[in-house]
Amino acid sequence: MAQQLAMVIDAAKCIDCKGCVAACKVANNVPEGQFRNWIKHAGLRAVPGISDRTARFQPGACMHCEIPTCVAACPTGATYKDHDTGEVVIDQALCIGCGNCIPACPYQARYRNEITRKADKCNYCPERRAAGLQPACVDTCPTKARVFGDINDPTSAAGALFLKNKERLTRVAAKTNTLPNMYYLGDPGPGDWGGEAVVPASMVAMKESAPFIKGMVALSGLGVLAMLGRQLFAGSDHKEDSDAR
């Protein structure tokens, strides 16, 4: 089975210290005032006495979805789902900074990096992983609320946690369900904030017309091949051109 990198988060452990947010900003040079990850609040009602225990600080970031609407919104193919690892990747060389992907994410996980002027979001810290480290937010988390890894690998911490709790894992339910690969143990806390993916009509049209365009491209390719074949097998009609030299 291919990998599926994901986060399995115990929101009940989060103390909202912002360690993960600070670590991410430093590790990824996230510009001032911009953030790749966050902690949301819910159930924080100051009611004296015995608590209903619904207070949650919910850590989040790009959820590297199964059905990434951001990919659908990207006109250049800069954003794509890496099927080997399950990550949603931004190829910075291809991104034109059009911003289509930003409203296309129902979790507001994307932003336009003010310095690079390109799309930006959580990428699970590939440089750190290459060095054998956890993503910065996971590494730094005081209570280790964030657990990261391949959920298809039962020997990984994330995989073990994922398998053990499979029935009680929840996801943030956005209005557009993208099947996010961020799982929360038990009650994740705030669940009403996931929005609706807004993919530009032009992109939808492009997506609809894609088979047609592909067909056209294929047909034109066939045409070229036919001409080539004709040239190879039927020979040239213009012998005089070469003879003239």
Partner: protein
């Protein structure tokens, strides 16, 4: 075929459609290249963004530290680094950092400085210190240092210079709590949070005011070990939000609550009689004393239902000895804060949790040794500290800042005219900032060593830049934390010192040389470390390898067969020494004064991104907390016609400030709260200068009658809406 594959297949068409030839190169790439392993060096250090000294690994590329990560082998911090720890680089590379020695040119606090060379700076510091000593005796010079691995050299210098006027930050923080537990158990305990089954969190906010490992262990205990957490706080903090129960206790009534817990435990005989008989002193007196402190009485005082108080007492006792009243740290709250904390200690005594899993732990062997020296004798010196005799049980090594300040202002009993300050910022941390300013103005010469132009540096005569924790070599330090560890850490530079900064040790050495005291600083940090680790010779190499050295010492049962360091040689529920000194041997509850009409009690507190006054100017942390606000209860705000976000004026008997109101249900209607560190005077702290309000400008400077600990919760303020 995915969209991307499609574009790749139909490459030219797509590129033409979206923008042209510039993209062709990019499209030709099969995939975004998988990143290479970064070319960083990993170097160990210990964090210095607060007092916790969590273990870290600095990633350094081409001489530049690019990321700080937790050291997974560092058990005290449980392999974590908080937001402040991550923001260490923003402090190190802060453009506002002090870069070279500065000599004051204009009036004090005017902000006119002249850059001078180091030699001239050290000559001047030595000359001025010699002048003060000549004119006012060695005790005419005050030395103040914050909590740092090099701070001990300030104490050493003061001693060889001849002054016993040394103060620290502690009397603005926790000395009353330390006193209370010391006078009950004979030493100041660590809390075994991790193994506790029931924790009463009163006057502490452990999920926001991070203390390692307690903050982290608290979550593990409640989430994984089934520990129950009950929080009493006038504010609905994050700790309150994550607790099983929260009560917005009326400020200043904690003692009534504790004495009622004791009442129930004793009345219902919920204690271990064997433990009480064998290990404690004064159960009879305590029994008589708490008779009147019924849950009903406490309920009237603290606003927590009597049946809940009784239930909590029973639950605590049922979980004993693996239950506790968490000792807390910042105990600078009331004029009887030592007695308040004594009531905490007494309940722990009744629970019999001392030296046991889930209870309060004794200090362990770390293995480090002191480096003694013989200080010279000065015949002309004074008999005692300037703050001596004003309160009965001060900690000699910490002093009392507020008492010292009053004594300096009054020249009573003798004048102090010189002040040397390292890595602490009384202008930004002590209550009644105007008095600190007056104290500054009284001085002939003030020298401040710091990495940034704090408000204290701003008021100084000579400001000397020191390197940050990532740029210097520090002595070894022993750390303990709960059951986590008894360990030793050191700091080696992970990057070269920036600018002209010089470590405190070299500054002290330089001044000492010029004052013919050089023999007392005639060593290197390496030699000093070797002396410190003489009993654990392997420690230095182990620290090079792991970033930390652990001493495998006993955790529980340290007191088996050992006597307690108290007069009765037992846990003193009833304190005999207090009795001899004419102090209350058992804590007597005095109800706090209610806020006068239209006034609020101001309380202080922490946030996980705040270290007193040293983080408000941090560019990274500033993004989380751009300013401070006044927490004001919704009902009270409605009465005053104040809306969320309105600019308000907060006025106290000592000063007034303006800031935005945060109208919230998360605070009692009779109480207001704001964070510290904002609205600095120093314009060289560009994010905190003129931003928000200074709490020090508002707080009155009352103090605890036993230790001289500042009492930060005794100020009443008025709040009025400012017409924009």
């Amino acid at each position: 075929m995915s969209r991307r594959d499609f574009f790749r297949a139909s490459g030219l068409v797509a590129a033409g459609a979206v923008g042209g030839p510039a993209l062709l190169g990019g499209l030709a790439k099969a995939r975004a290249a998988s990143p290479a392993k970064p070319a960083w060096d990993s170097r160990f250090s210990a964090c210095d963004m607060c007092f916790n000294k969590c273990g870290l690994i600095a990633r350094v590329e081409n001489g530049v530290a690019t990321k700080l990560d937790p050291n997974p082998k560092f058990l005290k911090s449980r392999g974590m680094l908080c937001a402040r720890g991550n923001a260490g680089l923003a402090q190190v590379y802060d453009p506002d950092r002090l870069k070279h020695p500065l000599l004051r040119k204009g009036a004090r606090g005017e902000g006119k400085w002249q850059r001078i060379p180091w030699d001239e700076a050290l000559d001047m510091a030595a000359l001025k210190m010699a002048e003060v000593r000549e004119k006012y005796t060695p005790c005419g010079h005050l030395f103040t240092a914050g909590s740092d691995l090099q701070s001990q050299f300030v104490g050493r210098f003061a001693e060889v210079y001849g002054s016993f006027n040394v103060t620290s930050h502690e009397s603005l923080c926790l000395v009353s709590g330390s006193r209370a537990f010391l006078d009950t158990f004979g030493e100041v305990p660590f809390a075994d949070v991790l193994n506790s089954r029931y924790i009463m969190m009163v006057g502490a906010n452990r999920f926001e005011a991070l203390v390692t490992p307690d903050s982290i262990d608290l979550m593990t205990a409640i989430r994984e070990n089934g520990c129950k957490l009950v929080t009493l706080d006038p504010r609905y903090t994050k700790t309150a939000a994550l607790s099983h129960e929260w009560y917005p206790v009326r400020p200043g009534t904690d003692m009534a609550f504790m004495l009622a817990l004791a009442h129930v435990i004793i009345n219902e005989k919920l204690y271990d009689p064997q433990w009480i008989a064998d290990k404690t002193f004064g159960m009879e007196q305590l029994t008589a004393h708490v008779r009147r402190y019924t849950p009903g009485f406490a309920a009237e005082q603290c606003g927590i239902p009597a049946e809940d108080i009784a239930r909590m007492a029973r639950e605590l006792a049922a979980a004993a000895p693996a239950s506790m009243v968490y000792p807390g740290r910042r105990t600078s709250d009331y004029e009887d804060s030592t007695q308040i904390r004594r009531s905490f200690a007494i309940v722990n005594g009744l629970l019999g949790n001392w030296d046991k899993p889930g209870g309060l732990l004794a200090a362990r062997q770390v293995g480090l040794k002191g480096v003694p020296f013989d200080a010279p004798w000065y015949d002309e010196n004074r008999e005692d500290r300037i703050d001596a005799g004003k309160v009965p049980m001060m900690f000699e090594h910490e002093g009392s800042f507020v008492v010292t300040r009053d004594a300096v202002l009054a020249d009573d009993p003798y004048p102090i005219r010189g002040w040397f300050i390292y890595k602490t910022n009384p202008m930004g941390t002590a209550p009644n900032r105007r008095k600190t300013m007056e104290m500054m103005n009284k001085m002939d010469f003030v020298t401040v060593v710091d990495i940034a132009m704090s408000d204290t540096a701003w008021m100084a005569d000579l400001v000397l830049p020191s390197p940050s924790y990532l740029e210097r070599k520090d002595p070894c330090s022993g750390l303990q934390g709960s059951v986590a560890c008894a360990c030793v850490v050191k700091r080696d530079p992970v990057i070269d010192p920036l600018y002209e900064s010089r470590p405190l040790f070299e500054i002290m050495k330089g001044i000492a040389d010029r004052m013919e005291l050089g023999e007392f600083f005639d060593f290197t940090i390496d030699e000093y470390r070797e002396k410190q680790t003489r009993d654990i010779p392997e420690a230095l190499a182990v620290m090079d390898r792991d970033g930390v050295y652990y001493n495998p010492s006993k955790v529980y049962g340290i007191y088996e067969g050992r006597i307690y360091k108290t007069l009765s040689k037992k846990v003193e529920l009833y304190n005999q020494r207090y009795e001899q000194m004419g102090l209350d041997p058992l804590p007597n509850y005095t109800p706090p004064a209610p806020p006068p009409d239209n006034r609020f009690r101001m309380v202080i507190g922490r946030n996980a991104m705040i270290t007193q006054s040293s983080t408000a100017n941090n560019t990274l942390l500033h993004q989380f907390l751009p300013t401070n606000t006044l927490w004001l209860n919704t009902e009270a705000a409605g009465r005053l016609g104040i809306q969320d976000g309105d600019l308000v004026e907060v006025a106290s008997p000592v000063g007034s400030q303006e800031l935005r109101a945060e109208v919230t249900d998360r605070i009692r209607p009779d109480t207001v709260f704001m964070l510290s560190g904002y609205n600095t005077l120093s314009t060289m702290q560009h994010l905190s200068h003129g931003n928000g309000a200074s709490i020090n400008e508002l707080l009155d400077d009352d103090f605890d009658a036993i230790t001289g600990n500042a009492s930060m919760h005794t100020t009443f303020v008025s709040v009025t809406r400012k017409v924009a």
